[in-house]
């Protein structure tokens, strides 16, 4: 040791320090993994807290850690699209509108990991619609498989100001049960409220804009309500040449555009983003607004008067023949991109998430805004059908226990592009601006056919 030079001591020390620095993380990585997760920020704080709780519980159970990024919907979508484009992907992702906007195309392009083995762990618990909604077509491998894991859902509900109905001189029991009379009733309510000096209150809160998901959810559910449910079949084929589908399209356009032109929809609904109908409802600009999830009522849960007395949540009405209409169930999916560096940990996290007791707790802590996609959860836990709650039980009866239908973008990614291009809202605007519903239908169907021509499925 006595022969070592100063340079040697310094060099040796630096070498040891560098070696230790490199070696320590390697030892740590052998014991636990860090899972990179990108997740959609909630509509309110409780949703985020519920997810943080779930993450903490999984970290404790697994010994792994989560590097979590929470972002609002659109910025998250942009981040995800960029990740897929560049190839630098996280381990696990979830975005509210990914099933409609991102997953169909990325599954088609073969960029998602097949997660059939994860879904299998709870297959008996998941509803039929949930299972179908997670199976997308992979055009690279020419097969349909599970490219997402279903864990929650949403359908169109109709929150309504009971207090305004009563102010107009009606009771909730006066609201008709079938499609056309149901929506026409709110036009009458508006007239009565206007007569009482409510100059800025509108009967119908239809979102007719060309941004976000709400306008698509509204239009396509109306299309189904008018008998156009066969527009795309599970084999991915388009049926705009079916006279029933065309008739439903014309009826839907007529109904929505007439309401707007008649002055029963706020003019600014042509420019609403997804939260704007919520805001319009809370400010009593509209008497009702069809909306996915029960976010409108959940957001005002602390206002007991509003939540329990003044606002009610109704299911969509029966069709004009008095028969139930299948409600489109948007199933939310967690998905793993190909290129994930921690596939095992990502799968372990989702397996943990969809264990019924964990999922039940997570959805409840998020204030029950989202629907469970496991029917047994709502049967076994009285929280979901609490008769004292005027919102949650209505949404659950409709979206979990009632007849549900799978969204068409699951059958063919072309439908996702149709939605993304807002072909439906453009057609409605065409009618508002003077085109006949028949002409607007022809124009829209031409565009839809052109989009579908690029996506030929074999199953």
């Amino acid at each position: 040791m006595g022969n070592m030079s100063r340079r040697g001591v310094i060099g040796g020390s630096l070498g040891l320090a560098a070696g230790a620095g490199l070696a320590r993380p390697h030892i740590a990585r052998a014991a636990s993994k860090t899972l990179t997760v990108w997740w959609n920020q909630g509509f309110y704080a409780a949703e985020d807290q519920a997810f943080h709780n779930l993450v903490a519980a999984w970290e404790k159970a697994s010994g792994n850690t989560v590097d979590l990024t929470l972002l609002p919907g659109q910025p998250l979508n942009e981040k995800i699209v960029s990740a897929f484009t560049s190839g630098h992907v996280p381990d696990l992702m979830y975005a509210d509108n990914a099933p409609a906007q991102i997953i169909p195309q990325t599954a088609w392009d073969g960029k998602l990991l097949d997660v059939t083995d994860v879904v299998e762990t709870q297959k008996s618990e998941l509803s039929e619609t949930a299972l179908q909604s997670a199976q997308f077509y992979n055009n690279v491998e020419k097969k349909r498989s599970f490219y997402g894991v279903p864990f929650k859902g949403a359908t169109l509900n109709i929150p309504t100001w009971k207090s305004l109905i009563e102010k107009a001189g009606y009771q909730m029991s006066d609201v008709p049960k079938t499609w056309d009379p149901f929506f026409a009733f709110f036009e009458d309510v508006q007239k009565k409220l206007r007569a009482k000096g409510m100059r800025h209150t509108y009967g119908l809160g239809y979102t007719l804009s060309t941004t976000g998901d709400d306008p698509n959810n509204l239009f396509v559910q109306f299309l189904v309500g008018h008998g156009g449910g066969g527009i795309v079949t599970p084999d991915g084929k388009l049926h705009v040449d079916d006279p029933k589908v065309r008739e439903a399209m014309v009826k839907t356009l007529t109904q929505l555009a007439s309401a707007f032109k008649g002055g029963y929809v706020p003019p600014d609904a042509l420019n609403w983003g997804d939260p704007d109908n919520n805001n319009a409802f809370h400010s009593q600009e509209v008497v009702m607004t069809p909306n996915d999830t029960i976010s409108i009522s959940s957001a005002v849960m602390n206002n007991k008067q509003w939540y329990y007395e003044d606002i009610v949540t109704s299911p969509i009405p029966l069709d004009n023949d008095g028969k139930p209409v299948s409600v489109l169930l948007g199933v939310l999916l967690a998905f793993i991109p190909k290129g994930s560096g921690n596939v095992d940990a990502a799968k372990d996290f989702i397996r943990y998430l969809i264990q019924p007791e964990h999922l039940d707790l997570y959805l409840k802590e998020a204030l029950g805004r989202w629907l469970p996609v496991m029917p047994n959860l709502v049967k076994n836990d009285p929280y979901w059908l609490d008769p004292q709650d005027p919102h949650r039980q209505a949404a659950v009866k409709q979206g979990v226990l009632g007849p549900t239908a799978t969204w068409y973008y699951v059958f063919n990614p072309a439908f996702a592009q149709v939605d993304a291009e807002h072909v439906w809202s453009v057609a409605t605007s065409d009618v508002i601006n003077g085109m006949t519903p028949d002409q607007a239908t022809t124009k829209a169907f031409e565009r839809i056919t052109a989009i579908f021509s690029k996506y030929q499925t074999t199953s």
């Binding site: 699209v81 906007q101 800025h200 804009s209 042509l270 420019n271 592009q417 993304a420 601006n433």
Partner: protein, 306 residues
């Protein structure tokens, strides 16, 4: 061999002879001088490569497929978007630069209160654009926006739904853009006016040029080159302007007010097709490239030109 200063820098030798003496890749530097030069150069070159060349090359690569352009041109809103872009550029750029030219003359006044007004006038440019455009969007709301409420309160009339029809919505975008950018160009043109020698005005005055003649025969000819450069620069910037349209109208109603910059983002991130989105942006190149070339030629003039 002795060498005087003039010969060291090549003065006195024919230009052709100077051109033939090339210094090589290392600029004639040797040893530690060369290492120091490289040490200073490499970080800049790496940053330029990583943050300028690579993104541009990646963007060009993303938009290189002919099928992306076929998809873009078959989109029913593309043609309307081109028209909107042309209107946005043609009206927005020219109008706000013309206003800036006029206002720059006004703000040349030596009155203290005019100078004070200039401080207030440049505020729209100084404040961040996104919150201000969002505020404008809210102010234009037909139901509860500030403008229509003011119209109702002051005159008892219901204002139009500004953002519900294509032309009022597009006009709102252009007015917002003019409001935002006029102050900046006004300041630039004030600087240009200040550089005009006072003697020229005095000489013109002796010759009887006052008022509009003074502007026509002295100010404008001397500002013309600067005005042209400002127009070129503003056109290039405006072609890539995303914020104004996105935050004032969101491209609505019914996708009728998109410009190429917002259409590109919509195609990339809403329709989930980055290649078509890049094609939308790159479809502006036939206009952009000649503009950049003209601008470079203007800036390459060796003489000072007002």
């Amino acid at each position: 061999m002795a060498m005087d200063g003039a010969s060291a820098i090549g003065i006195g030798r024919p230009a052709a002879a100077r051109r033939t003496r090339r210094l090589g890749w290392n600029g004639g530097l040797q040893g530690s001088d060369r290492n120091w030069a490289l040490a200073f150069l490499v970080p800049y070159a790496a940053i330029f490569l990583a943050f300028v060349l690579l993104p541009v090359a990646y963007g060009l690569w993303l938009g290189h497929r002919p099928s992306s352009y076929a998809a873009l041109f078959s989109d029913p809103i593309y043609l309307r978007t081109l028209v909107n872009t042309a209107l946005f550029l043609g009206i927005g750029v020219n109008l706000h630069l013309f206003l800036a030219l006029l206002l720059s003359g006004y703000f040349m006044s030596r009155n203290w209160w005019v100078r004070s007004l200039l401080l207030v006038f440049i505020l729209p440019w100084a404040v961040p654009s996104i919150p201000t455009f969002i505020s404008i969007h809210w102010m234009l709301n037909g139901e509860w926006g500030f403008i229509n409420n003011a119209l109702y309160t002051l005159f008892g009339i219901d204002g139009p739904s500004w953002l519900n029809y294509r032309w009022p919505a597009l006009a709102s975008v252009i007015v917002s853009y003019i409001w935002k950018w006029t102050p900046f160009w006004t300041v630039i043109l004030i600087a240009g006016r200040m550089a005009i020698p006072q003697e020229l005005y005095e000489a013109a005055s002796v010759d009887g040029a006052t008022g509009i003649r003074r502007f026509t025969y002295v100010t404008f000819p001397l500002l013309a080159n600067l005005y042209l450069i400002c127009t070129l620069l503003s056109t290039i910037w405006t072609l890539g302007d995303f914020n104004t349209v996105y935050f004032v109208t969101g491209g609505g109603p019914s996708l009728s007010t998109h410009v190429l910059a917002t259409l590109g983002i919509r195609d990339a991130f809403i329709v989930d097709n980055p290649e078509v989105g890049m094609a939308a942006v790159l479809s502006a190149l036939p206009l952009l490239i000649p503009l950049v070339i003209i601008l470079m030629r203007k800036l390459a003039k060796t003489q000072v030109q007002l």
